[in-house]
């Protein structure tokens, strides 16, 4: 009897182990392909977490990469040709409407609903509800929370001697942080061309990208948002949400573009040809007093091995303007307080699955593994991942940020959180053809920055091209998509 009982227990143990093994290695023999840009930025978390996930599931992860400029056509053609060359694409959120509208992506609602690990409610609502959704369905999982914030050198702007000199010159207190673009201009002029940090090297006012195809277009919208985005007028940044007529050449946009060009003369030499990657390095090298960027400058400044500004950087929501273009009245209005609407530039990187993938379950499992709170916290607090916080828990636990090397993580996270939570935060353009609209703008911005065209002429040209693109893609379809992206009712 004892022998039978022992045998029974042994059999149960063997069966239990087999079941457990089968569950843990449930994707044995499956290989999933992940497509994104080359490491380190964005691809690094895939490389960091793939080995553990492979051990747990028995599957293999194959990373395929392409340079930034080739991501969109390669993703689009892979989807459209129905080959499912990539099971997972980690792509800019702005491209999701293009892919979702064309029916290229697998809806993830059911998988997310049945996933006990992803902690969906921990993801901030703007990313969870707006960035990864299209027409009421979820098509992706956020990997990164992106918004532009404003950076400044505390040792310069908070220096009492410099503050006194600034007041004597401009007739008002040096605002820390600046709240309007006019103040930014004055501060940039004040700190331009002299050694204000005493290291024997000349310093400059600002550093921002101005290179064609160097992500300068987002910097333009970061300046425009304060001039054109009134809280009760959705869609001020891009199109009229009633007619789909471009608003890009409004007086507010023209003013923003004039500022965008005017500030170049207070920029680090060579700024005209800098992309956002170079801007980060230059700011961390200590040359400039102010900058606009995603969360990356914050990371590189405090954590970068070659940073010369560790602990000297202040963070703030984007400056704005008290003069705002009112589209309803067709005139400038003056506000008592500056309009500092946040801008979710780019919207972050999201992971989506090809509808034709033969490994949707395994692909989703890997995405979930990357995004679950404990792993994504490691991603956002590790250098060169390119991922910024997007979950509530990322903002709450400061220990990881301090361990990461941040001197003042509360201020850094506060500026990002204030931007995301701003009641008038503006979401990036999320309609089919977004990349084409942005390309048309970017090409004109380069001309204006180089002095080859006026701001008004360039934006008029952009408006003309945007109209052509809208007509080509179908005005009604685009209008519907635009209203959806703004959360407006669709007739």
């Amino acid at each position: 009897m004892r022998r039978i009982a022992a045998f029974g227990v042994l059999a149960l143990l063997v069966v239990g182990c087999a079941v457990a093994l089968a569950q843990t290695r449930r994707f044995e023999g499956v290989t999933i392909t992940v497509f994104t840009q080359p490491p380190p930025y964005i691809a690094k978390p895939v490389l960091m977490f793939a080995p553990d996930w492979e051990r747990l599931t028995g599957a293999k992860v194959k990373l395929i990469t392409a340079p930034w400029g080739e991501l969109y056509p390669k993703m689009y053609s892979s989807f459209a040709l129905g080959q499912a060359l990539f099971d997972i694409v980690i792509a800019p959120a702005a491209w999701l409407p293009d892919f979702a509208e064309a029916g290229f992506l697998a809806p993830l609602d059911e998988l997310i609903g049945a996933d006990p690990y992803i902690a969906w409610g921990d993801i901030l609502p703007v990313y969870r509800d707006r960035i990864v959704s299209w027409a009421g369905k979820i098509y992706a999982v956020p990997m990164d929370g992106d918004c532009h914030i404003f950076y400044y050198r505390k040792d310069a702007l908070e220096n009492p001697e410099y503050q006194a000199r600034f007041k004597a010159k401009y007739g008002y207190d040096l605002p820390v942080p600046p709240r309007t673009w006019k103040q930014v201009r004055d501060i940039a002029e004040f700190f331009h061309g002299w050694d204000w940090d005493g290291d024997g090297i000349i310093n400059y006012g600002v550093v921002e990208p101005r290179r064609y195809a160097g992500q300068a277009d987002w910097c333009f919208f970061s300046r425009a948002v304060g001039y054109v985005a009134l809280p009760d007028q959705p869609g001020g940044l891009f199109f009229d949400p009633e007619t789909m007529v471009p608003r890009i050449n409004s007086p507010g946009h023209v003013k923003a573009l004039e500022d965008y060009v005017d500030i170049i003369k207070f920029g680090v030499p060579g700024m005209l040809l800098m992309d956002s990657g170079e801007v980060r390095s230059v700011f961390a090298s200590g040359l400039a007093a102010m900058a606009i960027d995603w969360g990356d400058i914050g990371v590189i400044s405090d954590v970068g091995e070659e940073s010369r500004v560790r602990g000297k950087v202040g963070y703030a929501v984007l400056p704005g303007s008290t003069e705002v273009w009112d589209f309803a009245q067709g005139k400038w209005v003056t506000l008592a307080e500056p309009n500092q609407a946040g801008y979710l530039a780019f919207g972050g990187w999201v992971a989506a699955i090809d509808r034709n993938s033969r490994n949707i379950a395994a692909a989703y499992d890997f995405i979930s593994y990357l995004s679950r709170p404990e792993n994504s916290y490691i991603s956002v607090t590790t250098s060169e991942t390119g991922f910024n916080p997007y979950r509530a828990s990322h903002f709450e636990k400061l220990a990881g940020w301090i361990g990461f090397g941040f001197v003042n993580p509360a201020a850094y996270l506060g500026a990002i959180r204030d931007t995301i939570d701003h009641p008038n935060v503006q979401v990036d353009l999320r309609i089919p053809g977004a990349a084409r609209y942005f390309e048309a703008l970017d090409a004109q911005l380069a001309l204006v920055a180089a002095g080859q065209k006026t701001a008004k002429a360039a934006l008029d040209e952009v408006a003309k091209i945007w109209e052509q693109i809208t007509d080509e893609l179908g005005r009604d379809k685009q209008l519907k998509a635009y209203r959806l992206s703004l959360g407006l009712p669709v007739p």
């Binding site: 400029g69 080739e70 969109y72 056509p73 689009y76 053609s77 989807f79 459209a80 040709l81 129905g82 064309a102 029916g103 290179r211 064609y212 195809a213 160097g214 680090v268 030499p269 060579g270 700024m271 005209l272 040809l273 992309d275 040359l287 990349a435 084409r436 390309e439 048309a440 090409a443 380069a446 001309l447 920055a449 180089a450 002095g451 080859q452 065209k453």
Partner: protein
């Protein structure tokens, strides 16, 4: 007479080449040709190409950005190839003499050509950097103002030309040096015996006999020059504004950034036509120099 089996063998050897040629040359060419007269649309059914006649070409001839890119490309090719030829010829003539360390100089001159254009682009971008570049450092030490070699619209194209000349002069040198080495010494000696001066020797003997090598070098370099993209992409990205945007870079931006494949293909095809026409004109004009009569 070639037997049946020999013909079969011949076919068997040729087939892989023909298949490769069809797959990698003829098919892309035909596909591009279809795009040039069509519009490409991706939808759920995959890639669809609809014919639109000459619409892309009409757009091209009315596109100011195309003509700017065309003009930039022509200016770069003409200036760079001319300078490369003159410098390459000078270096080849210098090293054609018996001088000490000739072998070392020959190797040193070839180094730039061995570097990838991307590396060359990064190197010269650093050299020309208005804030941190060594040229700025030298100018400042001399009490002169920094110059925006790459950031000033007027100057950026010259910076690109200088970079191209630095990298590709060795190519000219290599071909012309080989050409010089191939000139029979008898002609030179005979001219010297007749009392020809150094200039007369060069003008009447060396230069005419070097004509075939010169034509080949200029033709090859000119055709390559039209395709310039990598150094420009790294150094200026086509900027400031569009002051250094070449045809290839323009085509790339349209095809792969704006994702307008048909118009991008039209730009690429226009480049192909420009190179072909340029090459035919050059070869026709140079025919009169190919067979020289020594006076």
């Amino acid at each position: 007479m070639i037997g049946k089996s020999a013909r079969r063998q011949g076919r068997a050897f040729l087939t892989p080449t023909v298949i490769l040629l069809l797959c990698f040359t003829i098919f892309p060419l035909l596909f591009t040709l279809a795009l040039v007269f069509g519009e490409a649309k991706f939808d759920e059914g995959g890639l669809r190409i609809g014919l639109v006649g000459l619409r892309n070409w009409t757009r091209l001839v009315h596109d100011a950005r195309f003509w700017n890119a065309f003009s930039v490309t022509i200016r770069i090719v003409v200036a760079a190839v001319t300078l490369e030829y003159l410098l390459g010829l000078g270096l080849a003539l210098l090293l054609d003499r018996k001088i000490r360390g000739r072998g070392i100089f020959r190797i040193l001159f070839l180094i730039p050509m061995m570097l990838t254009p991307i590396a060359v682009g990064y190197m010269w971008r650093m050299i020309f950097d208005v804030g941190r570049g060594p040229i700025t450092g030298i100018l400042q030490r001399l009490g002169l103002p920094a110059v925006g070699w790459l950031t000033e619209t007027r100057l950026a194209i010259y910076s690109i030309i200088i970079t191209d000349v630095w990298q590709w002069t060795p190519f000219m040198f290599l071909i012309l040096f080989a050409g010089l080495q191939a000139i029979p010494r008898d002609y030179v000696e005979a001219a010297k015996v007749d009392g020809a001066s150094a200039w007369q020797l060069f003008r009447r003997v060396t230069f005419p006999l070097l004509a075939p090598a010169s034509i080949a070098a200029v033709l090859l370099r000119g055709m390559e020059g039209f395709k310039i993209v990598d150094t420009i992409y790294i150094m200026t990205g086509g900027g400031p504004g569009r002051s250094t945007e070449s045809l290839t870079l323009f085509g790339y931006s349209i095809g792969f950034r704006a994702f307008d494949l048909a118009y991008g293909a039209t730009i690429a095809f226009s480049l192909f036509l420009a190179v072909m026409v340029g090459a035919i004109v050059f070869v026709t004009l140079s025919r009169r120099f190919r067979y020289v009569r020594l006076e």
